[in-house]
Amino acid sequence: AQSVDQPDAHVTLSEGASLELRCSYSYSAAPYLFWYVQYPGQSLQFLLKYITGDTVVKGTKGFEAEFRKSNSSFNLKKSPAHWSDSAKYFCALEAGGSNYKLTFGKGTLLTVTP
């Protein structure tokens, strides 16, 4: 079985600060990992993915994430944060190899104050 944990339901920080949203996963083999963002009242947008290779991956909107196999984490980072980054962020996992099943974490609501 696969699972994703986002331990912080809500994160608040000031504009200009560095942001890091936490994500840990449970899966026995090589995972495919993703971050998506959902702005209020809208659908989901893809930010970045880790499939294999470099453990630091860069995505859209200035975000990057680091895959750490040692502690089963895939944290999302951005510096500096902007008020427009305020949204809900979801980490997701797909079991590698044509599994087709995507498991989402519960999400972290990020509020960036001006």
């Binding site: 993703f34 659908s43 893809f46 087709y100 989402f104």
Partner: protein
Amino acid sequence: AQTIHQWPVAEIKAVGSPLSLGCTIKGKSSPNLYWYWQATGGTLQQLFYSITVGQVESVVQLNLSASRPKDDQFILSTEKLLLSHSGFYLCAWERTGGYEQYFGPGTRLTVL
């Protein structure tokens, strides 16, 4: 460029009534297609996926069904709605071998 449409944008339905939600992908042939459900303020639950016309796999049982009558169309339906079906329904597509999914604008369903 690929575009994904969902219809209707929103629905208000009575408990026990039937439902049909649609999703169309343009500009991409033979995509993998997915249906998700999101409770208000909640996470996303994958409902179905389809990798080819006429073939649909169920991921979770929620008294819903899905069909893929055409390469670019994915339909979600039920004959009898429950209050628990309320939420945000999202369709997504994935290019074969691409891994990331791209989501449609969604349909908001309220069951009264």
